[in-house]
Amino acid sequence: MKRSDVTRIALGVFFVGLLATPLVIKRVTVRRAKASAVVLDAGDALSRYGFYFTEVSHAAGIDFIHHAPVLDARLNPIMPEVASMGASVSVVDFDHDGWPDLYVTDSATGSKNKLYRNMHDGTFKDVAEQMGIADVNQDGTGVSMGSVWGDYDNDGYEDLYLIKWGRPELFHNDHGKGFTRVSEQAALPPWINANTAVWFDYDGDGLLDLFVGGYYAEDIDLWHLKTTRIMPESFEYAKNGGRKYLFHNLGNGRFEEVSKKVGIDSRRWALASEAVDLRGTGHPDLVVANDYGVSELYLNDGKQFRESGADAGVGFAPKSGMNVSAGDIFNQGKYAVYISNISEDGVLIQGNNLWVPKDGQVGKQVKYENLARDLGVELGGWSFGAQFGDLNNDGTLDLYLTNGYVSADRSRSYWYDFAKVAGGNSSIIGDADHWPAIDGRSHSGYQQKRVWINDGAGKFVDVAHGVGVTDTCDGRSVAMADLFNRGVLDVIVANQRGPLLLYKNTVTPKNHWIEFALEGTRSNRSAIGAQIIVRWNGQEQVQQVAGGSGFASENDRRVHFGLGSEPHIEGVTIKWPSGKIQTLSAPTLDKINDVTEPQ
């Protein structure tokens, strides 16, 4: 045989090997996915993963189904696409009885929101009507998109800011007995089309301020369109969304809008935000996840914000941001930030981002690298809300992600039509009239949720099926709370056009926990922005009291730490928003520790 023939044959074999490579990789991936998709019984889940969920909404007295908004008839061909948000859940102890309650939004005109009061016996009772915060989706006022709670007047009761496509509302909590609408007194603008808001005290004056991120431009009444040119001008570079607002709390029930004055000036399409002190400066920074574009990171020096997304690495590659949640995933006292995006096999693989601070950085600047792929939390379908929390009390933060956009006809997909317009010029994509009709098709529907448990060694493993999370609803908002004061994190999920799901958690009793219920004195009374650092067994974990996180949601105000099986607590430090640093000498394990800020 000639040398050239040998070369030719060798090349042919090499080429076939190359072609076979993706198939081999796919086979391995599918095998792994199948292994994680096994449904386990409770006992197996408990022994293997240390926890399992039981969906108990009906048994708990919650039979809520979300209704999507019905917007201007000119949007009818793509109504499921544009009316695809509004389902949300926030956790609040509105009556200050020590048991977390739930506020759930509905989004059809005339529909009513629910305030599920915790009855202390494993059930909830809707008292929204009685409290005056049910009938908030009246014709002409827009509809609810989410809620965040914060005690803006420091009277000890959490007040409600209602995020809407429409007239934004602030309700004062009258000592848990009812709510009074104070939107006008607070000088809120007449109309905002927002999907995100967070309470935080940006200037450390002891009064909670409010950030609101617009999605559609605020001059658009989605029920009475003057034009169909309301869509994003670009799939990845859009800057024609709603403006941003920072309402500075003046202390007399009034707010002053100061966003531009303090350096927040953006018209990107905000979908999620969280305020968190990323650099340990004592001033909460603001992370904003934008649809149709890059994320924004506003670094706060206590008076001014500086948008540093590109410098920090989080704001260069444009994606479809739909969630912001911060968590100390490596128990190193530093926050990583999880921003969800879109991934659909064979069409669009943006991948979710897990922004982890690079090592060796101190001071005012911070740089992040995306470790979502390395850690295994990158692909989550059309991802929406996510939250960090120690679901099995093993001492590391896990991650719950919900997903799914439009679940309609399973056999027909809208992706092709979506892709052909999304890739076009702004003059095409920006006009709703140019979008092909969805016509009953699904768009990344019926997706499997992700429950990623943190193995503590740098990997997250999806165990959703194994621990009983098998729903395929179009998930939007995720909140975590120790709903029944048992020392475990339960998960509540709001689904678009779907049920509110309540996943009650059962955790192996061998793992211990500790919780903290904080009350500020010099700081805002909700203690929003307080950092709690727990040191045990040679490691430390930081968590904060947040005034809104994930997608259109807010977790239990109380902060939960899992500690593993044999914890030896070395110390607990609380950094209050006022700057006060408190050390707890003898916090009690397996108990909710009430802590009041020292004067």
């Binding site: 070369t7 090349l11 042919g12 090499f14 080429f15 190359l18 072609l19 490579t21 993706p22 198939l23 990789i25 796919k26 991936t29 001008e233 670009s234 799939f235 990845e236 570079y237 859009a238 800057k239 890059v294 260069f316 590659a317 444009p318 096999d345 064979g346 069409v347 669009l348 693989i349 943006q350 991948g351 979502a372 792929r373 990158e378 692909l379 997909s413 992706w415 092709y416 039509d417 892709a419 052909k420 317009v421 999304a422 890739g423 076009g424 010029n425 702004s426 003059s427 095409i428 994509i429 009239d433 140019h434 979008w435 092909p436 009709a437």
Partner: protein
């Protein structure tokens, strides 16, 4: 996206004036690599079109390395790597994946295809088209293609179209682009009529950068297009026609797959026609040869 073996002009023997002209002439063979590099830089520095620098560099690096190794093995010489650079950069721009391996694998497949899938000493697929189609087909769960536009501005799009058109005109390949664009638009109107969607939604894809790369670098690749001018226009029309059929079946990567299907078929037909012609001319020559004379 050219798979041609590029020969560097021997500038050492030319006069300084000729040198200057040659290097800055639009005919020189470095124009396509420079043009695609410009697209990459403008696109990324302005709008961040790349998944990451690292991934693009990986595609370019593996493409060039593969070309050097396979060229050395098969020809015994170090071949010029300009075409591998174009293939690598095309893969780096067009492919989208959060993972690294698809970039390397796609570039290696693209270059290897040039050396393996050959007919009459000519490779029949545009290398990057082949590599990207194979990886899209076999690894649909891991990769997609570029699907974004040049920011919000129509100007970036116009600049690329204008610059690309001038360069392609000078390279005497504008007719291919023109036939394809006109055919695409006509088929878009037809598709809109068939499926009942807005006409602009059918035209929309061609306004994106993926198509600019496809038109300026793939369908015009000299090594994998047919030789005759009319044939080139017929092939461009056929690509648009097959693309329309694929689009009617909701194929998101319709243009890439259409070229993947039409390109080699066109070359096979051309090769067959040429061999028939050669045979015929040989026969005719044989008829007129004097008795006792053989060819």
């Amino acid at each position: 996206m050219s798979g041609q073996i590029i020969v560097i002009p021997d500038v050492s023997k030319a006069s300084p004036t000729t040198n200057w002209r040659r290097w800055f002439s639009l005919e020189n063979r470095f124009v396509p690599p420079i043009f695609i590099t410009l697209i990459l830089l403008i696109g990324h520095l302005s709008f961040g079109i790349l998944e990451s620098y690292t991934k693009t560099l990986l595609a370019i690096g593996t493409g060039i390395a593969t070309e050097l190794i396979l060229g050395r093995i098969t020809t015994g010489k170090w071949v010029n790597v300009a075409s591998a650079y174009i293939s690598g950069i095309s893969v780096g721009i067009l492919l989208r994946s959060p993972a690294f391996w698809p970039y390397a694998l796609c570039a290696v497949i693209a270059i290897t295809s040039k050396y393996v899938v050959r007919l009459k000493n000519r490779h029949i697929w545009n290398p990057s088209n082949f590599g990207i189609c194979v990886i899209l087909f076999l690894a649909a769960d891991a990769v997609t293609t570029l699907s974004i536009q040049w920011g919000n501005s129509v100007w970036a799009m116009l600049v690329i179209w204008s610059l690309g058109s001038v360069i392609i005109w000078r390279l005497k390949r504008f007719h291919i682009c023109a036939v394809y664009v006109v055919s695409f638009v006509l088929f878009a109107v037809l598709r809109a009529w068939i499926v009942g969607d807005p006409v602009v939604s059918e035209i929309s894809p061609i306004t994106g950068p993926e198509y600019q790369l496809f038109i300026f670098f793939m369908i015009t690749d000299p090594k994998t297009t047919v030789r005759s001018r009319n044939g080139q226009m017929l092939v461009a029309f056929s690509v648009a026609a097959v693309e329309m059929i694929l689009r009617l079946h909701s194929s998101i990567y319709a243009p890439l797959y259409a070229l993947f299907l039409v390109g080699p078929i066109a070359l096979l037909i051309e090769t067959w026609l040429n061999s028939r012609k050669e045979l015929k001319s040989k026969d005719e020559a044989h008829v007129f040869l004097p008795a006792g004379v053989t060819q």
